[in-house]
């Protein structure tokens, strides 16, 4: 037996909020975005946007194909059908609408934000000042919506 057990809460919302907050701050201090550790928030935001783009939020860890646990041996269920992403998805939608307008094309808005994140990480292919401004606004709104 291990010395302790704990219910592992899902920290997705807190992490998403923190990542958005950090990335928004990088626009004021772009050099901070170039260090290797800054790739963690930037890549996570990029991944969230990919999930949003493809409506692909199914992300539960699964046991191996042959892990045929009997019902009697398992911990109380369910452990994986929670909608971990519902608030994040809603916050992404709200923030994109706010930054790019309610009629903005979803793919184009996601492309624009991802291009700005890429520029933060690499300093290459700078998007227009308008896109940078909208992306910063998107990140601030996204972070605020998860507060």
């Amino acid at each position: 037996m291990s010395t302790m057990s704990r219910f592992e809460a899902d920290h997705s919302e807190e992490l998403a909020r923190r990542f958005a907050h950090l990335a928004a701050a990088y626009f004021d201090h772009p050099s901070d975005a170039k260090v290797p550790a800054a790739r963690i928030p930037l890549e996570n935001l990029f991944r969230m946007l990919q999930m949003f783009r493809y409506d692909a939020f199914s992300d539960e860890p699964r046991s191996g194909i042959l892990e045929m646990r009997g019902f009697d041996e398992q911990m109380p269920w369910p452990v994986s059908d929670e909608q971990w992403h519902s608030r994040i998805e809603a916050a992404l939608r709200t923030a994109l609408n706010d930054a790019f307008g309610n009629n903005a094309n979803k793919d184009e808005a996601v492309d624009a934000v991802q291009a700005a994140l890429r520029w933060l990480a690499t300093n290459a292919n700078a998007p227009s000042p308008d896109v940078l401004q909208r992306t910063k606004r998107f990140l601030e709104r996204f972070s605020a919506a998860l507060t």
Binding site: S12, R39, L42, F46, Q50, E67, G70, Q114
Partner: protein
């Protein structure tokens, strides 16, 4: 006594030392530089977050504790990947498919291949491909770990079951998840027993369900599990849906070998095929739709001119079909549903070469089966008239199929373990042949 923040700061230092100690050596197939850099980035990020966290912010410290613990577990698993207790030749081939199917867009590269490492552990039930979560986490790049059972190190024929696990990895790629979901939702999960959770529960609790199923459900009833709350209280319907989807992906990526591996392994865990699980539907219905899938895809063809090969293939498929559950309760999908799903997933896999299972031609299959019958590793190497040597490419999945055919050819002249060993050697030797063919063509 140190406070939590001080303790976690110390743990960051400990992890850094462990990282330096372990990952600067070569682990996995292509060294550990990428893994090292990834783990270092994760650790630096967590250490930075910890520095900025007040020692009284218990929520943030608990979250960082969990993320540090996950990183420590990952590094420990990667250390074990150096032990090599699995079939390297098979892993090389599996990785080619995994890279093709799990390459995805990242911040700086629209086609970033996955980082994969391999380890072995446990026994029969250990086969798995663990894919790191897509949701917000402490990772920069996601790392996939392929797990082989320690006890089945050389049983490459059974390794075909990892086709199912590839399905989970594909499912975790956002772009593919949408494409796969579109297919299965339209063809499998829009009507019938799997149209929605109540429909599936009604099927499971039907009066006509097998006695084995009823016995399990009766036991669960004593714990307050009913038809109305089976999914949600004790089992996950989304998990069942995903597992079924991954069975179909396994079918169209590994073909006959997948059917044989899944049939052998699942029925060894649950011989009567009636056991549902929290995340998996009953074995019997999985076996049945896979047999139908193999048939509608034409994998079970025995239309061969060579009589000996034809008999051997017939014997193999007769044995596979012998596992079919006769009770119609186990047939949860119609043949049309199975055909449409398998065909459309195969079309999707065709866009991700070499993921889709290619049908073997008779000449290749005959060569491989004959080599195995002589106790020779199955490879694309022939000595023809006048002692002329010819080499040709062979897909490793055809070597595995030849192995399964040989295993079911009566009378058994070589053991199952020996057939596996020969096939493992065949895959390795074929790699050398492919390299030679590639070199001579340039």
């Amino acid at each position: 006594m140190r406070n939590a923040k001080e303790f976690l700061t110390q743990e960051c230092g400990n992890l850094s030392a462990v990282l330096e100690e372990t990952l600067r050596f070569k682990y996995g197939l292509e060294g550990s530089k990428e893994f090292f850099e990834e783990c270092q980035a994760r650790l630096k990020f967590l250490a930075g977050e910890l520095t900025g966290t007040p020692e009284t912010n218990f929520d943030a410290l608990q979250k960082l504790s969990m993320l540090l613990s996950e990183l420590a577990k990952l590094i420990s698993r990667m250390e074990r990947s150096s032990l090599g207790e699995y079939s390297w030749p098979f892993v090389e081939e599996l990785k080619r498919i995994a890279v093709a199917t799990c390459t995805e867009a990242t911040l700086t590269d629209p086609k970033t291949p996955p980082q994969i490492f391999v380890l072995s552990g446990g026994g029969l039930g250990s086969y798995a491909i663990h894919v790191e979560v897509n949701r917000p986490s402490g990772s920069r790049m996601r790392i996939h770990s392929i797990v082989f059972p320690r006890t089945l190190k050389h049983f490459v024929l059974l390794h075909s079951i990892l086709g199912h696990e590839l399905g989970h990895a594909i499912w975790k790629c956002s772009q593919h998840q949408k494409a796969v979901r579109t297919i299965v939702n339209r063809e499998l999960f829009s009507t019938g027993h799997f149209a929605n959770p109540p429909a599936t529960a009604a099927w499971l609790y039907a009066n006509g369900a097998p006695a084995g199923v009823k016995k399990i459900l009766a036991g669960l009833a004593g714990r307050g599990v009913t038809q109305g709350n089976f999914f949600g209280k004790i089992a996950s319907w989304p998990a069942w849906i995903e597992e079924i989807t991954c069975d179909f992906i396994g079918l169209v990526t590994f073909g006959p070998s997948f059917v044989a591996a899944e049939s052998n392994l699942l029925y060894s865990c649950n011989p009567d095929g009636t056991l549902p699980g929290p995340q998996h539907p009953p074995v019997g219905c999985r076996g049945n739709y896979l047999l139908t899938g193999a048939s509608v895809r034409g994998y079970d063809t025995d239309a061969f001119a060579d009589a000996t090969l034809k008999r051997a293939v017939e014997a193999f498929w007769t044995s596979m079909r012998g596992r079919r559950q006769i009770d119609p309760w186990f047939d949860v999908f119609t043949p049309d549903q199975i055909r449409n799903t398998a065909n459309q997933l195969a079309v999707l896999m065709d866009t991700l070469p070499p993921a889709s299972y290619p049908m073997p031609d008779e000449r290749d299959l005959l060569l491989l089966v004959n080599q195995l019958a002589r106790g020779v590793p199955p490879v694309g190497y022939e000595i023809g008239a006048g002692q002329a040597v010819s080499c040709r490419p062979i897909d490793f999945r055809h070597s595995l199929y030849a192995g399964w055919i040989t295993a079911y050819t009566p009378p058994p002249e070589i053991s199952f373990a020996e057939i596996n060993r020969l096939c493992e050697h065949g895959i390795m030797q074929q790699r050398a042949i492919d390299m030679q063919l590639s070199a001579s063509s340039t």
